[in-house]
Amino acid sequence: MSDMLMEDAETNAAQADAALAKPPQANRGTVIRPRSGWAFVNVGELWRYRELLFFLTWRDVKIRYKQSLLGITWAVIQPTLYMVVFTIIFGKDAKDMPDGIPYPLFSFSALILWTFFSTGIAQAGNSLLMSSPLVTKVYVPRLTIPFASVGSALFDFFVAFSVLMLVMVFYVNFSSADTSGVIVGPIMLMVFPILFLTILLALGVGTMLAALNVAYRDFKHTIPFLVQLWMFSTPAIYMSTAPPPAAVQKNDVTEEGSAQQNPLANAATEKEAASADSKGMGLWQWAKKGLQLNPMNGLIASFRAALLGHPLPWKELGYSTLMVILGFIFGCMYFYRLEPKFADII
């Protein structure tokens, strides 16, 4: 018996030997230098590890749905429940929705994008701590770890997205064109670039949270709170942010009108704003302005508009794009800056 085992071992060894004897394919070198401070992410290396990114994403997706009762339907349940809650709370104002979009469709289209974003950043934020052996026992470009978390959230997004497609088909077929709120047209293709921007933002915010989470151990308690707060600061999810027609005109005057050409006029509009303040509406207006700093507002409003074939809020989208690019670059660079310390402090 033991003889047979030995033989087995020998043939195995011979096979392994054959494998080792194959000429090595890529003659990669490694240069090891101290690294600290800000530096640009090593994109080439990240590209070489793209298959790892795929496998890590695939692992996250598999694990999430293995041994779970409802499996893949979880990806749909969360946005659906939110939709039901929002429809109950805000749905009665549905008549005020711009362009007659039914409220369930209005909120669900926003919620699937928001669910992707919030799941993505929350998972990415915890990803490094969850897979600490990948940081301390082997070298892989660590950016792949939070990236993969966003990737697995993206998988969920596509599941929910297909459900949304069915809902849309239902609305288009079983209600008249006015009431469905869906206008089929080429603008719908804008969904993909907007999704891409949201992915970039999730990657930027997610990697930054992941790095902070390793550097400061109590940061993980702030992540769920941060996600909640961010949702409340994204009113585009649950209510129409488009101002009533009168306000639009006024806004146009104050913001773009003669303001830049004439400093005197600028001062005049400020006075006007101040007088609005004194009327008691000011605080809300300012809060609204503040919320516009949040790029998710523009992304979600644009995503919904594109998906349902309505004209895009280009100004907000342009502003969001700028914020997304800055956020993505900053998040990745911050992560990359802390990366050399990860194995020492995790």
Binding site: N12, A13, I32, F55, T136, K137, V138, Y139
Partner: protein, 427 residues
């Protein structure tokens, strides 16, 4: 010959000391600490006068340089805390050096742990792909070697079973099988052989030998001196982060062993440079080996008795503590543990600020001549966690004695001897 690995003046500094506001280990910073420090710092600086940045530095490696040629196998030898693992972590890019640089030519693979990234819920097949890609294999490489990996690990029947249902031995075999099929020029290995059964260890050693024979460059960190001498013709010796010796592994091993040979029979353990483990609630301050007559002795005859004497000082309360004496041979192989709770049934409570002595007498040491190491530890009786652990706290030497009364000694090296009674009767 082209050097495959070229290491120049690598140094690595860790920051220790200076407890943060909440008294936490500074490595695990809390946001809370940062905020508290920011508030407290100006006050503290006013008081102590520009004590800003009074962070204690610990150089885990300093100015280490060496080269390894193609097809060479180099062993890295040193006591715990000498910087071996840090060096390996730098060469695998897991952490970055503080100073210096290293150039590695060719694909680098590392085996610091078998089966990194295995997920218990995934099947054997899925884990092979996952682990392979973590180690840097492409999907097509894994596919083409898949059958060999499964074969080598010997888990054909369980390939679709989740890894959580595997025995620990199967997991280790699978992990090593994937790593063994990595197609690379440089392999860095850390003590993976410490796991698994003897059969598996032999298989691993054989595999590594093969790797080195086939023109790959191998860097091997181990406490197992026999494996070092077997596998690697050359070795370097690290001591407190410095490269002490770069020579044949025979030289290095003997230097290492003789340096460790603190056979004076006693040692002061309050020295802060001693590497120790455990929670640190209490610490050994001193260890002394005595003969049964009561005088300090680093050398004992075969079959003599021995008396371990230690002094323990407690910082915090530890209830139900006990002390273990761990005897291993000079190569680091465990011989026996003299267990304070199982054998001695002596547990005691440690009170903060109070010293206690722990003594243990063995009437007879059945060891063959050679150098033996004593590691000591305090454990808590409640959670059995180590409170303090000092690896190789002191050594002793057994010198030949005529224990058998025959005037003869065995020629073959061995570790223990047992009392025996013989009879030969013709029938």
């Amino acid at each position: 010959m082209v050097p495959r690995i070229k290491v120049e003046n690598i140094s690595k500094c860790y920051r220790i000391g200076q407890k943060s506001a909440s008294g936490n280990d500074p490595r695990y910073r809390m946001l809370r600490d940062v905020l508290m420090d920011a508030i407290k710092a100006p006050i503290r600086n006013l008081r102590s006068g520009a004590a800003l940045g009074r962070v204690e530095e610990f150089w885990s490696l300093s100015d280490v340089s060496f080269e390894v040629n193609e097809g060479d196998a180099l062993a890295i030898v040193g006591a715990n805390g000498a910087g071996k693992s840090t060096l390996l972590k730098i060469l695998t890019q897991i952490t970055t050096p503080t100073k210096g640089h290293a150039d590695l030519k060719g694909r680098v693979g590392s085996l610091l742990e078998v089966g990194t990234g295995f997920h218990p819920e995934l099947t054997g097949r899925e884990n092979i792909f996952l682990n392979g890609s973590i180690l840097g294999m492409t999907r097509s490489e894994i596919k083409s070697q898949f059958d060999e990996i499964v074969d080598f690990a010997g888990i054909e029947k369980f390939i679709e079973t989740p890894v959580k249902r595997y025995s620990s031995g199967m997991k280790v075999r699978l992990g090593f099988a994937v790593a063994a099929h990595l197609d690379l020029e440089i392999l860095l290995i850390d003590e993976v052989l410490a796991v698994g059964d003897a059969e598996f260890q032999r298989k691993c050693l054989g595999k590594m030998d093969q790797v080195a024979q086939s023109g790959r460059t191998v860097l091997f960190v181990s406490h197992n001196m026999a494996a070092v001498e077997n596998l690697c013709p050359r070795a370097i010796l690290l001591d407190h982060g410095r490269l002490l010796l770069d020579s044949t592994s025979r030289d290095v091993v003997s230097t290492y062993l003789s340096r460790l040979g603190t056979t004076t029979g006693q040692r002061d353990l309050t020295d802060p440079t001693i590497a120790r483990g455990g929670t640190g609630k209490a610490k050994f301050e001193h260890i002394e080996l005595k003969n049964l007559a009561g005088s300090s002795a680093g050398k004992l005859g075969m079959g003599d008795g021995i008396h371990f004497h230690t002094v323990v000082n407690a910082d915090q309360e530890v209830r139900g503590a006990f002390v273990n004496f761990i005897i291993s041979d000079s190569r680091g192989d465990l011989i026996t543990i003299i267990h304070g709770s199982d054998q001695g049934d002596t547990t005691f409570d440690l009170v903060p600020g109070k010293r206690q002595t722990v003594d243990c007498r063995l009437p007879r040491l059945n060891l063959h001549p050679g150098i033996y190491a004593v590691s000591i530890e305090i454990r808590s009786g409640y959670n059995l966690k180590a409170v303090d652990h000092v690896e190789r706290a002191v050594d002793f030497e057994i010198i030949p004695a005529d224990v058998f009364g025959t005037g003869k000694h065995p020629k073959k090296a061995q570790k223990i001897f047992l009392e025996s009674e013989w009879s030969v009767t013709p029938v």
